[in-house]
Structures are given as C-alpha cells and as structure tokens.
C-alpha cells in the first residue's frame, strides 16, 4: 500500500504579506517558504508513522509548483518520505492543482492520498475534495486520527457540532487536521539522505483554469486600540453598544 502526500509551498506564518505587479501577484522577495503546516505536521508525519508501523510500503510527496519550491520538497524528504514528484506548473487554482495530483495518483495506483485541511496562503480547503471527486473516491475531511488494519481505515474526524468515527476501505482521500500527529524536526541523517532521494519532475497538463486571481488587497488592520480603565467598565459596555454596535 502506497501513500501519496500532497504538499504545498507557502510563506512562513510570520511573513509580512505584500503584493507586486499592480497588486496582481504575491511579492515573494525575501520571503521564507515552508511546507504548508497542515500538510507537514499532520498529513506527512502520520503517513511516515504508518510506514514505520509497516502499514504502508512507501510514502511519496507530490507538489505542483516551479523549480524554486524544491528546497521545500527536500525538507519533506528529510523528514522521511521515500521519494517525491514535482509537477512543473504554476497552479492557477485549486482545480488545476487537484487535477495534477489526481492524475498522478490514478496512474501510479496510490491507495491513500493525504492532504492538509487547508493551505495557509489560499485557505480554500478545496484540493483534497476535488482530488477525491476526480478519482471517484470517498473523502473524509478534518481527520484527527487515522488507523489502518489491512485495507480498512478507521478515522476520527470533526463534523458539524461534534466528532465522528467512521470506517472506510481504501482507496480513499483524507484531509488532516490537528491531532493526527506531532510535528517532527528533521535530523542530520535525514537531511543528508534527502539530497539523494529521487525527485521526479513531470510537466503539468490538463484543463485550463476555471478561476483566476484578478487582484489582491491587504485587509485593513486595526489602527487604534481605545484603552479603557478597569474602573470604567460601564463605558466599555456603552461603547460596545453605541459605537461598535455589537451588543
């Protein structure tokens, strides 16, 4: 049983977001890129744990992006993934990215596809469900636990207003959330090994984009915080009513 883990290359959480080219592009100058945290901490680490428990033979990383994301892919390999595939294309939207992943997973008979619950740059929570739709597979979202017994997966996941435990036979697509696994730090042996692990590059193909970004804008931050003293709480309540109009 082989596991395919989709990873996205995203600006580090603390990045100061700026745009360029007339606000039509993200300005990546001087920005540190990392593996999308949900893809790394939850999807990838759980896949590695399953392999270490001899429940999977192989863990492959897949990434849709250009050559500048290879450092991020190598980081994933240094954590313990066996090999990686980079689909050489700048994904214009989630559908395009998902289509590349679905095509590769289908052609290479991956039985489990893991993704993070969302990326921290586009926050669409869409790629996993589109992959499942294109592959005609079940999709389980927001998984917080995943156990395998042969080809049967038992998953605990967040549902509307609660938690549900479900069973489903592979093949399957799962989006992973906090709880699945704990973050790992690559060790020196992993980093050395990652340098020579196979990283295959395949040209992107498929549909034209269904959506595109026309422009970006920063959301206005809060400019002033009105300070209120502890002995003046009636004033706060009154401001929340008359000024903020929220109570």
């Amino acid at each position: 049983m082989k596991i395919l883990v989709a990873i996205s290359n995203v600006p580090d959480t603390t990045t100061k977001i700026q745009f360029t080219d007339g606000d039509t592009k993200f300005n990546s100058q001087g920005v540190t890129f990392v593996i999308n945290p949900y893809d790394e901490w939850y999807a990838l680490v759980r896949a590695l744990e399953l392999k270490e428990a001899n429940l999977a033979e192989k863990v492959t990383l897949i990434h849709v992006g250009l050559v500048d994301s290879e450092a991020t892919i190598r980081k994933g390999l240094s954590l313990g993934a066996d090999d990686a595939v980079r689909i050489n294309a700048e994904g214009p939207d989630a559908f395009f990215v998902a289509e590349q992943i679905a095509n590769y997973a289908k052609a290479n008979s991956y039985e489990l596809v893991l993704v993070g619950k969302e990326t921290i740059n586009y926050n669409g929570s869409s790629v996993g469900a589109i992959v499942a739709g294109l592959m005609d597979l079940p999709f389980i979202s927001l998984a917080t636990k995943l156990e395998l017994a042969g080809t049967k997966a038992t998953i605990e996941h967040d549902v509307d207003g609660g938690v549900q435990i479900v069973e489903c036979d592979l093949p399957l697509v799962i989006s992973c959330a906090k709880g699945m696994a704990e973050q790992r730090i690559p060790n020196m042996r992993g980093i050395m090994a990652a340098r020579t692990k196979p990283l295959t590059v395949i040209e992107g193909s498929g549909s034209s984009a269904l959506t595109s970004v026309k422009s970006y804008a920063l959301n206005p931050g809060r400019t002033t915080c009105k300070m209120i003293t502890e002995d003046n709480l009636d004033e706060l309540v009154s401001l929340l009513h008359t000024e903020a109009k929220v109570i």
Binding site: A98, N123, D160, L210, C225
Partner: protein
Amino acid sequence: MSVLVYTEVSKGRVKKSSLECVNYAANIAKQMGTSVTAIVNNAEAAHIEELGKAGANKILTVKNEKINSDSVLITAMIEQAAKAEGSKVVIFAFDVTGKAAAPRLSAKLKAGLVAGAIDLPVINGNTFEVKKNVFSGKANATYVIHSDIKIISLLPNSFPVQLSGGAATTSDLTIDLPASRIIVKETRSNSSGGMIPLPEAELVVSAGRGLKGPENWKIVEDLANSLGATTACSRPVADMHWRPHHEHVGQTGVAIRPNLYIAIGISGAIQHLAGVNGSKTIVVINNDKEAPFFKSADYGIVGDAFSILPKLTEAVKKFKAHQN
C-alpha cells in the same frame, strides 16, 4: 436556470449559515433576473417556511437519514438537483459540509469554485468576480470565475440574516444515490451547554493561559452568559485539556468571525490572530500592557482578569436590565 443553494437543518433548526446563503443567493438571482431554489434534507414545515422567508422561491425536499455523513452522497444529490434545475450558480456555506461538498461538485461539473467568499459577486456577462480572504485573513483576493457553471461557498457571518417574508413552493426531489462506502461507527456531539455553536456565534468570550487553570473558568462563563455569548479558548488551553478541543479558536483550531470577540489573558500570537482577525470588534483584556494582541484590538483593558471579569459581567447585566 435558478440559483441553487444547499441548506441544512441541524439540531432542529435551519442553520444560520444556510439562511445567510439563501439571502446571498436571492441577491445573485435578482441581479441575474432569475429565482432561488433551495435544497434541504429532512426538513419540517417550519424550516421550509423559514427558508421561504429568507428568499427561496422553490424548495426541493429530500428525506434521507444517510446523506449527511458522506460528502459523496451530498454532492450526488446537489449535482442531480443542479441538472434538474438547469442551475448555473450553486451556493454553499463555507462550513464543514460546504468544504467537502462544494469542491467535489466543482470536480463533477468542471465548475469554478470560490471557497470562502466574503462579498457578493460582481457579474460581468458570463464571468463572476468574487472576493475571498487569503493569507489567513491578512489579505483578500478578487477571483474571476470563468467556467459556465459557478460555485461559491460563503464564509459564515459575512452578512446579517434578513427574513423579509415570502413563501416558497415545495417539491420532493427524487434522487438516485450511489452506495456509501463510509460506515459511521460513532457520533459524539460537542457539549455546548446550550450555547450557540462557535462558527455561528455572533458574540464570543475567549480566554487563554492568563486564567491560570481550568478551575477559574467560571468568571469567563459568567461573562459569556451575561452577554449570551459562546465561550472559546486559545491553543495552549485546549492542549492542556483545560477546555475541550472544539473550543480552540485560531489557525489550527476553528476560524471564527463574530461581531464581538473578547480575548482574556491571550497574548495574541500570530497563529491565534489568524483565526479571529475577521471579528468585527475585538476587546482585549490582559495584565501585560505589551501584549501584542492590543495592536489588533479595538478596545483594550490592562489589568487583572480576576478582578475585571466580575465587574464587567455586572456592567453588562446592568446594561441589559436597563435595555429591558
């Protein structure tokens, strides 16, 4: 050609996010000169009436207990409804179901999706321009949907619900569903203590490590009760099991955008802000005047939560009594 909107009944009522979606669909339908069709599973007469008041002209009803636990079935149902209605626009809430079903429908119909819209679309001929938040709320992007069929999932709490009257016709939808491969073994509801669930709550009182221990939460709950607010917490508090996991708001927990977010004893790490920065008004209470959260707040109080909270609760009660 009607605008199709997926709606849900949960815990005996139409979800607020569903009513927001019907309002949103009604606005789009008006711009396009067409009507709104809502699809709902396991609804009763009162729910149907409410969907009509929110702006649905026609309601497709389904009775099926199994659909809700498998996005494959939900998507198949909506796909068949969209075909029957000839819908070119399908609206979902950007909630647990919408995040699983809307992208799947996008795959099935080759329809462009904007996931987490924060504004009404601008319609230019056969393209829609829709705004959504990106970079965890730090920015927004205007997307263009190029495909013939368009799917939008609406970020909850982006618009107030308006119920302006109007009655819808209803029709039973006969659907042909595939067999589900998912077997549900157990479902546990979050114990909300009668509070509005966090993603739908308009008022939220949230506390962090500054409260020093789970035994001190009564003053937080008292303030929440006085406001009719839902309680939430920061990540360390959930990780230490002081509060249940489902109360954790922030980037790795639930992202919320209530009208009022009161943060008590939470320093305001960037990962926490990413989950709450869409709140309309933020009040920060912290004993450290250098806490970064004050930079992202509308109102701030520097001081000891243990002495401030009971006084604030009294002030709210006094205000409420005066209102009545």
